[in-house]
C-alpha cells in the first residue's frame, strides 16, 4: 500500500499542524500512521512522536513539518514571507477526502475559476485561459508556471473590482504549491498563497493554507475567512473526483492546452517515482517495485 520505506514521499517533509493550532498535544495522521505533536507552553520545545519514536521536526511559515523517513536537510523557502510589511496568516486546516496530488493539481488550475469560484475568482463569460509557460527547473527540482493571466471580478479582499490578474505558480514539493498573484493593494507587488497538503492517507488530506499578503485594511480573520470561502468551494469538487488518487497514465483523462501545468506536474510525479496518492502509469507500478 505504498507505505514502504522505498516510497519517496515517505522521506519528504510534511506539515502536520500550525504552531498556534497545538494547545499542548495534537493527535493527527500522516500517511496512514498516527503521530502526536507536542508543543511546550512557550512554543520553545516542539516534538513529534510516531509511537515511541521521535520524528525530525522543522518549523517554517508557522507550520510544524515532520517526516516518517529520512528527510532532506532543509525544506523549500518562500523568501517573500520575510518582507517586513507582509501579513503572514495561516488558514485551515481543512479536511478533504481527496489525495494530495488532486488537491495540488486543482490549486494550479485557472480554468475552473468562473465555474467554481463564480463572481469571485472568475465569472462567465470570461472563461478563456490564455497560453502560459511551464518549465521544470532542474536545479531546484521544482515546477514554475509563468505568464498566467485570468480575468477576476474580485481577486482578493483588497481588490476594488474586476481586473486581469497575473499569476505565477511554483510547485516546490510534490504535495505543496505556492502561487503569486497581482496584489489588489499594490499593483507592483504580488500576494503569496500556498497550499501545504498533509496526506493523512492516500485518499484524504488536511489542507493547510498559508497567506503572505500586502493588505493594511483587513483583519487576520477576514483574510482567513476569504481563503476558507474559496477553498470551501473547491472541497466539494475535489471530493467528487473519481478516482480520488491522481491517475498518472496520460490516457486516463483528457488534457487540453489550459492543463499544461497539470501535464508537467503529472510527468514530474512519475519521474520522481511518487507512488502515494497517485495511480501510477502502466508499466510504472510505483516505487515499491522500483525501490
Amino acid at each position: 500500500m505504498n507505505r514502504t520505506e522505498s516510497e519517496p514521499s515517505r522521506h519528504l517533509w510534511h506539515p502536520v499542524a500550525t504552531v498556534a493550532e497545538v494547545n499542548g498535544t495534537l493527535n493527527t495522521m500522516l500517511m496512514g500512521d498516527a503521530v502526536t505533536v507536542r508543543v511546550a507552553g512557550d512554543h520553545s520545545g516542539i516534538v513529534v512522536f510516531h509511537g515511541d519514536r521521535k520524528l525530525p521536526v522543522i518549523v517554517r511559515f508557522g507550520f510544524i513539518w515532520t517526516s516518517l523517513g529520512s528527510p532532506p536537510s532543509d525544506l523549500f523557502e518562500i523568501p517573500e514571507a520575510a518582507e517586513a510589511d507582509r501579513r503572514n496568516v495561516s488558514a485551515g486546516p481543512v479536511g478533504v477526502a481527496t489525495s494530495a496530488p488532486r488537491a495540488i493539481e486543482n490549486f494550479l488550475d485557472m480554468a475552473h475559476f468562473p465555474f467554481v469560484h463564480t463572481d469571485i475568482l472568475g465569472a462567465e463569460p470570461h472563461t478563456e485561459v490564455k497560453d502560459y509557460d511551464v518549465e521544470l527547473k532542474e536545479t531546484e527540482n521544482e515546477i514554475l508556471a509563468t505568464r498566467c493571466r485570468f480575468f477576476q471580478p474580485m481577486a482578493a479582499l483588497s481588490a476594488a473590482g474586476g481586473m486581469e490578474v497575473d499569476y505565477v505558480y511554483r510547485v516546490p514539493h510534490p504535495f505543496c504549491a505556492v502561487l503569486y498573484k497581482s496584489s489588489g493593494a499594490d499593483a507592483r507587488r504580488m500576494d503569496v498563497i500556498a497550499i501545504f497538503a498533509q496526506p493523512t492517507s492516500e485518499e484524504s488530506i488536511r489542507a493547510h493554507l498559508f497567506l503572505s499578503m500586502i493588505d493594511t485594511t483587513h483583519t487576520d480573520s477576514e483574510m482567513r475567512r476569504f481563503q476558507q470561502l474559496i477553498f470551501g468551494q473547491d472541497k466539494p469538487i475535489l471530493e467528487n473526483q473519481r478516482p480520488r488518487r491522481l491517475p498518472l497514465d496520460p490516457r486516463s483523462e483528457t488534457p487540453i492546452r489550459a492543463d499544461l501545468s497539470s501535464i508537467v506536474y503529472r510527468r514530474w510525479l512519475s519521474s520522481r517515482n511518487i507512488g502515494y496518492g497517485v495511480i501510477p502509469a502502466a508499466g510504472q507500478s510505483g516505487s515499491a517495485v522500483h525501490g
Binding site: A111, H112, F115, N240, R242, P243, T254, P255, I256, A258
Partner: protein, 562 residues
C-alpha cells in the same frame, strides 16, 4: 463484483424531473442519468473525461450537460463534447466523447446494460403497474435475494428477469420486485405494484412499510463495513491523450424531407440509416458526397443537442458543377447520401457579451445554428439577414422562432448594404464579436467596415462559401515534412495537397478551393504564397499556416509540421 449480463433497472422515471441529474450505480459503475428537454434519457458514465469530476453534480441545461468543474458541455444523446470554455475560440476535438450506456425507459423504470449490442429483452406481465419508492439496502444482491424468499416468501420469476421476484405478502395487491445490484455490499429493491393509475395509496404505504421492516432485518444480519470496491475506468483513446486530428469517417444518411426553403434554395432534412447522428458544434458543416462524385460542404442549421436529424440548405448555383443542380433537380426524398462527420472551421465563442451574426442570403445557415445555441443559453445576440427579397430569405419560418433577435434587410443596393452594415456593426466594445457568412463580396465588406470602425481582427469571424481568387499554380518549390521526415518537390501545375497525397501523406480536405480551411497545415519554416480565402489577414501575415489545396511557396523551400 461479478457482473451479470442483461438489462437492469437503474432509476425510476419519476427520478428524472425537469433538468435534474440523477446518480445511480450498477455493478460498481457509477452513472449520471438525465432526461433532456426532448424527452431522451441519457445514461452516462458518471465522470467527466477531462478531470474525472462526477457529472451527477453537473448542470442539466436541457439539451446539454455542463460539467460543474470547468463548464465543458456534452451533447444530449451522443455525449460528444461541444464546448470547452477555457478555449472559447477553438472547436473542441470532435472525438472527445463521454462514455455512455444504453438506455431504455419501460414500465416506469430506466434500464441499462453493461453489454454492447444487447437488445432490450425484458417482457413484463400484462396489466398496469405502478412504481413504488426504491428501497436501498446495505447488503449484497445475493443476500437480499435470499432474504426476500426466506422472510417475505418471494417467488423467483426468472422468466421475467434473473433478479425478478413475485411478492404477495407486501400488501393486498400483487407486487413484482426487481433487484439492482449496485456493488457487492449494496442493492436497490425496485417494486412495482399491480393496479396502475387506479392503485390505492393505502396499498403503496402498506408495501413501503413492509419493505422498510424487511430492510432493517437484512441490515441487522449483514456486515455494515464499507465494501472495498474500486471501479475500473477504461483508458481514454490514445489520441485523446493528445489533441487529435480530424477523422475522415463517412456515414450514410437518408433524405427524409426535401423542400424549397426560399427562392432558388433547396432544404434537405437528413436522418441516419442506423443509430444516431454524432454531436456537432454550432458553425459546423458536413461534407456531402453526391452520387455524381462531387463533394460539397453544407452547414448544419440545427440547434444544440439535435441527434435525430440535420437540416441543411443548398443554393441552386446557375453555373453548378454538379452539386447544387443535382440536389435541386435529381435528388429525391428517400435517397441515400454519404456525409462526413461534422467538422467545424467556424467555431463560436460563447464568452461574448453580445454576438452579432451577419448573414448574406444562404450564409444564414451556420449562423442559424449559432443563434439557436446562443438562444439556448440566453446569451445576447442579434441576427441580421441580408437578402434580395422576402422570398429569398432561407428557412424564414425557422427564423421566426428566434424573434425578436432577427432583423431582415431586404432589397438593398451595394451602397445601401454598406451603409446598413456600418449601422448594425457600430463601434467595438469589449465582449462584442461578429460572425459573418455570405458571398465573398459581403464578408469582405463586413471585414473592411469593422476595421474602419476600430474592431480588432480577432473579434471578426467569417466563413466564405467561395474563394474568388484566381489560383496561380505556375511556381515550383520543395517541401520538407518535419514529422514524416520526407522531402518532396511540388512541380508547377500541381497543388501541394495533391502532391502530399501522392506521397502517402493523408490530410483531410473538403472544398479544395481554398475556402473551407479543412486542409490547413502548420508551417515551421518558409513563407507561404497564400491564395486562399480562409485565413484572416493576421494569420496570413504570421505565415504560420498554409491552406494546402491552393497555396504555394514564396521561398524555394517550406518546412511543414506534417
Amino acid at each position: 463484483m461479478a457482473e451479470l449480463s442483461g438489462w437492469f433497472p437503474v432509476a425510476a422515471s419519476h427520478d428524472l424531473p425537469l433538468r435534474h441529474v440523477f446518480q445511480a450505480k450498477l455493478f460498481d459503475r457509477e452513472m449520471a442519468i438525465w432526461r433532456a428537454d426532448d424527452g431522451n434519457v441519457n445514461v452516462w458514465e458518471n465522470r467527466c473525461l477531462h478531470r474525472g469530476v462526477r457529472l451527477s453534480i453537473g448542470v442539466n441545461e436541457g439539451l446539454e450537460l455542463k460539467c460543474q468543474y470547468h463548464g465543458w458541455r456534452y451533447a444530449n444523446k451522443t455525449a460528444g463534447c461541444i464546448y470547452i470554455p477555457a478555449h472559447p475560440a477553438n472547436a473542441p476535438a470532435r472525438q472527445i466523447t463521454n462514455r455512455t450506456y444504453p438506455a431504455v425507459e419501460r414500465f416506469g423504470l430506466v434500464w441499462t446494460t453493461l453489454e454492447k449490442d444487447l437488445s432490450f429483452d425484458v417482457v413484463w406481465p400484462d396489466g398496469d403497474w405502478s412504481v413504488l419508492r426504491a428501497i436501498p439496502v446495505h447488503a449484497g444482491p445475493d443476500a437480499v435475494a435470499a432474504a426476500l424468499c426466506k422472510v417475505l416468501g418471494a417467488v423467483p420469476r426468472p422468466d421475467i428477469h434473473a433478479f425478478a421476484y413475485a411478492l404477495s405478502t407486501l400488501c393486498e395487491a400483487p407486487v413484482l420486485a426487481l433487484l439492482q445490484p449496485q456493488d457487492s455490499g449494496k442493492t436497490v429493491i425496485r417494486c412495482l405494484l399491480s393496479g396502475g393509475a387506479q392503485m390505492e395509496r393505502r396499498l403503496a404505504v402498506q408495501a413501503n412499510a413492509t419493505l422498510t421492516r424487511f430492510r432493517n432485518i437484512v441490515e441487522a444480519d449483514a456486515s455494515l463495513e464499507p465494501v472495498e470496491s474500486e471501479p475500473v475506468f477504461e483508458p481514454v483513446a490514445s489520441e485523446l491523450a493528445e489533441p487529435p486530428a480530424a477523422s475522415p469517417d463517412a456515414m450514410t444518411v437518408r433524405v427524409e424531407r426535401k423542400w424549397q426553403v426560399a427562392e432558388g434554395i433547396t432544404g434537405l432534412t437528413v436522418v441516419p440509416t442506423t443509430g444516431n447522428l454524432p454531436a456537432f458544434q454550432p458553425g459546423a458543416h458536413i461534407d456531402v458526397t453526391l452520387p455524381t462524385g462531387v463533394k460539397r460542404q453544407y452547414s448544419i442549421t440545427d440547434g444544440p443537442g439535435t441527434w435525430k436529424s440535420w437540416t441543411i440548405a443548398v443554393k441552386n448555383e446557375p453555373n453548378s458543377r454538379g452539386g447544387s443542380r443535382f440536389i435541386a433537380e435529381t435528388l429525391r426524398q428517400g435517397d441515400l447520401l454519404s456525409v462526413s462527420e461534422p467538422r467545424n472551421n467556424f467555431p463560436l465563442r460563447r464568452d461574448a457579451a453580445e454576438t452579432l451574426l451577419i448573414a448574406g442570403g444562404i450564409g444564414v445557415t451556420p449562423l442559424l445554428a449559432m443563434a439557436r445555441a446562443l438562444a439556448a443559453v440566453r446569451s445576447g445576440f442579434r441576427l441580421h439577414v441580408f437578402a434580395r427579397s422576402e422570398t429569398h430569405v432561407p428557412l424564414a419560418d425557422q427564423l421566426d422562432g428566434l424573434l425578436p433577435a432577427v432583423t431582415l434587410h431586404l432589397a438593398l443596393d451595394p451602397a445601401q448594404v454598406a451603409q446598413r452594415l456600418a449601422e448594425v456593426i457600430g463601434p467595438h466594445a469589449p465582449g462584442r464579436q461578429i460572425y459573418a457568412c455570405g458571398p465573398g463580396g459581403m464578408t469582405q465588406s463586413v471585414l473592411a467596415i469593422a476595421e474602419e470602425l476600430g474592431w480588432p481582427e480577432e473579434a471578426v469571424h467569417f466563413e466564405n462559401f467561395n474563394n474568388d481568387h484566381v489560383i496561380d499554380t505556375s511556381s515550383a518549390f520543395a517541401v520538407d515534412l518535419a514529422r514524416s521526415a520526407l522531402s518532396i518537390d511540388v512541380p508547377a501545375g500541381q497543388s501541394l495537397l495533391s502532391v502530399l497525397r501522392a506521397h502517402g501523406v493523408e490530410l483531410p480536405s473538403a472544398c479544395e478551393r481554398g475556402a473551407c480551411g479543412t486542409c490547413r497545415a502548420e508551417v515551421i519554416e518558409g513563407t507561404p504564397d497564400h491564395q486562399d480565402a480562409y485565413l484572416s489577414r493576421g494569420e496570413r501575415a504570421s505565415n504560420r499556416h498554409i491552406i494546402t489545396c491552393v497555396s504555394r511557396s514564396r521561398t524555394p523551400r517550406l518546412v511543414l509540421d506534417l
